[in-house]
């Protein structure tokens, strides 16, 4: 249906909810590239004013991509929980924003609400919010997941140890793992982006990580970020797979460009569950997303990149993941041009994911052709720490020598844990204490040159 708003005798028209959402979004280069952004500042605010008046129930009947055409839309609509939605069913988008920020919206209430919200509703409300609103509400959401440890508890911040190497050299990878563990990182997952996706190669890496985790009895999990079809094949070969990884998007076409659909993800999910390798819980999936992936695959269907991103969370939600990670600054400046856009997008993604009930982590990152630097990452890292982000990446010196981009370092993790009083996952914290890596106050201890982790490289 059509929406409109009049400012000083000028009436702005928005033909569809899809158009209204796109034009209400804070400016980012990807929406301009797609030709869906507002023409100027006034039109953007007019769209926000109109969007604020849209009843939430409209989102259940007016779909941004037709139900018949897109399985992600079908998933969103078919899995909508009307009972959970009931407390806010009479709200407009604007009223939802005010309610979320009010003291009436408690952590428990938000948890119960999650299945009643759709990605489009949370995308819409995020477009009306300032950065501090996104932080305030996300901070109220606690999403806890478990495999061999407990991730997402209040006052905790976990880390994916990302020991990538350009040729997957086992000793090169092990060196980065030792470095990370001795700096207190690795509780979210030890996760490698493999240089090649060949099953034999991935299997070698899986065995390597499994033996390190077993030998040092580390309460964490491993993941090789290969394509889901590779993982499926390896599950059949009884490879030691803790978590199954996949990049996902918010439209059926985007997922097709990744070589997946919902049925394939379901198959992989069931396969991962069948291995029963978790000791504390059964969250076995690891998903990565990022604004701009749909446009990049020419699969955005006229939907703005932030709404596409929120729709990807509906896909993730179906499979109760241990970790969801928005790789926010990796995609490049044609989607998120500079530090300001990257920071805004990260806060939106974290907020939307959390509100939908997902264990959100953020790869606080940028490429060298984006207008951003380590100072922008410090800002974003600190904001996400305040917002209660579940986990971030830990990479030696913040420099990924395989993927050629910059993220956050083991030192950055120490910084944000220290200034905000955040601790690692409880089981991992105990392990760090036992290993003499960290003390009860969370301070890193000097490592003795005979430390047993250092012997890893001699065997």
């Amino acid at each position: 249906m059509a929406y409109r708003y009049t400012i000083q005798q000028h009436t702005y028209h928005f033909n569809t909810l899809r158009e209204l959402l796109a034009k209400a979004g804070p400016f980012r280069s990807g929406d301009a590239l797609a030709g869906v952004a507002a023409a100027d500042y006034k039109e953007r605010v007019a769209a926000q004013l109109a969007l604020a008046d849209v009843p939430l129930t409209n989102f259940l009947t007016e779909h941004v991509i037709p139900y018949e055409q897109d399985e992600v839309t079908r998933l969103i609509i078919d899995s909508h929980n009307a009972q959970a939605f009931a407390p806010v069913a009479h709200f407009t988008t604007g009223q939802l924003r005010n309610w979320l920020l009010s003291d009436e919206a408690t952590p428990a209430g938000l948890r119960q609400l999650a299945p009643g919200l759709t990605p489009e509703m949370v995308a819409a409300v995020s477009k009306l919010m300032r950065n501090q609103d996104l932080i305030s509400v996300a901070r109220k959401c606690e999403v806890v997941t478990k495999f061999r440890n407990t991730i997402g508890l209040k006052g905790r911040l976990s880390v994916r140890l990302q020991p990538n190497h350009p040729t997957d050299d086992p000793k090169g990878i092990a060196a980065s793992i030792v470095d990370g563990l001795l700096y207190g990182s690795g509780d979210a997952v030890i996760g490698i982006n493999p240089a090649t996706d060949s099953p034999a190669h991935v299997q070698m890496l899986l065995h390597m990580l499994d033996s390190i985790i077993q030998r040092f009895e580390i309460p964490t999990q491993s993941c090789i970020l290969s394509h889901v079809t590779t993982s499926l094949q390896l599950v059949q070969q009884k490879a030691p797979i803790d978590l199954v990884f996949q990049s996902i998007g918010g439209t059926e076409k985007t997922n097709k460009s990744f070589g997946i659909d919902l049925a394939l993800l379901q198959e992989a999910y069931e396969a991962a569950l069948s291995l029963q390798r978790g000791t504390l819980g059964n969250n076995v999936m690891y998903f990565e997303t990022g604004q701009g992936s749909s446009l990049s695959a020419n699969a955005h269907e006229g939907v703005d990149q932030q709404t596409c991103e929120a729709r990807a969370y509906a896909v993730a939600r179906k499979f109760s993941p241990l970790l969801v990670n928005t790789v926010v600054g990796f995609i490049g400046p044609e989607y998120l041009f500079d530090g300001k856009q990257i920071i805004r997008a990260a806060l939106e993604d974290h907020f939307c994911g959390k509100l939908l009930g997902l264990p959100m982590g953020v790869d606080v990152c940028y490429t060298n052709h984006a207008e951003a630097d380590q100072d922008d990452m410090d800002n974003l890292l600190t904001l996400l720490g305040v917002a209660g982000c579940n986990y971030i990446m830990g990479i030696p010196g913040a420099d990924d020598i395989m993927l050629n981009y910059q993220s956050t370092s083991f030192h950055d993790v120490l910084y944000v844990r220290r200034v905000l009083g955040l601790k690692p996952a409880p089981e991992f914290e105990q392990w760090l204490l036992k290993q003499g890596i960290m003390n009860e106050e969370g301070t890193l201890l000097p490592v003795q040159d005979k430390h047993k982790l250092l012997q890893l490289m001699n065997s």
């Binding site: 041009f337 052709h369 030696p396 913040a398 420099d399």
Partner: protein, 253 residues
């Protein structure tokens, strides 16, 4: 200063592991922070990469060098009027500016085996440093194989697909685009070469073959030239490029 620093900075007793990886491990720390030297080394690497993104093709030097190799050339513009536009609107870097398009049309090509394109991509530094040394090795191989080469297209604000239009207008059987790759912290000057059989606007990546990481510390000049020549010969022989063309040959006899 040296002594104070020694006392303040906590070193890591696993510096020996650096032999296994170029990753920034065993940096040491002061409090929770990286020591200043590590921070400044990182900043310097980022400066190299940033400057590479905003570097400009050194056209006078490139033209001179090509002339001395008896190679005619065109200097061309794309529809991206600035670096900022290039970065935000990728499609503008994939099409020629009208004047440049006309220039190639008016040339009235009678057809060539090869069209060579030098495009800045995301690192003009890569072209400025490595394009001529690679061509110096490649051109004699083309001559020996009796392959005709169109005037070299030097393209400012160009992306890979610009080769499709250049090659098409110059009626070339195959286009090779030499282009600056996205700079990493340890590789601000990496050159990539993309080959496309029967170039025409509208082709996509699956129609291409890529030879990446050409620089003295990566794939060095002689190895790169050998690989490029092998792939070009195979593409011309099999009359295809892209997924159907495999890089099986490491050495040519």
């Amino acid at each position: 200063m040296g002594n104070i620093e020694k006392h303040i900075v906590q070193t890591d007793p696993w510096a020996n592991l650096k032999e296994f990886t170029a990753a920034r491990i065993a940096l040491g720390r002061t409090g929770t922070a990286e020591p200043l030297q590590a921070l400044l080394q990182f900043r310097l690497a980022h400066a190299h990469a940033r400057d590479a993104v905003y570097a400009v093709l050194d056209q006078p030097v490139l033209l001179n060098e090509l002339r001395s190799l008896q190679q005619a050339s065109f200097t061309l513009q794309t529809q991206a009027a600035s670096r900022s536009e290039y970065l935000q609107y990728p499609h503008k870097g994939r099409r020629l500016h009208t004047a440049s398009h006309d220039q190639l049309t008016e040339f009235n090509s009678t057809g060539y085996d090869l069209c060579l394109v030098l495009a800045d991509g995301l690192s003009a530094t890569a072209i400025n440093s490595h394009a001529i040394p690679v061509l110096k090795l490649l051109l004699p191989l083309f001559e020996k194989a009796s392959l005709s080469v169109a005037p070299v297209c030097i393209v400012q604000e160009g992306r890979v697909a610009i080769g499709d239009e250049c090659g098409h207008l110059l009626k070339a059987r195959l286009v090779a685009v030499l282009i600056g790759e996205r700079p990493g912290l340890s590789s601000p000057d990496s050159l990539g070469v993309y080959l496309t059989w029967r170039p025409a606007p509208g082709l996509t990546d699956e129609a291409r073959n890529c030879i990446s990481n050409i620089r003295p510390e990566g794939l060095n000049y002689p190895a790169a030239a050998e690989r490029i020549f092998y792939m070009i010969s195979e593409s011309l022989r099999l009359q295809l490029s892209g997924v159907g063309l495999k890089d099986n040959g490491r050495l040519i006899s």
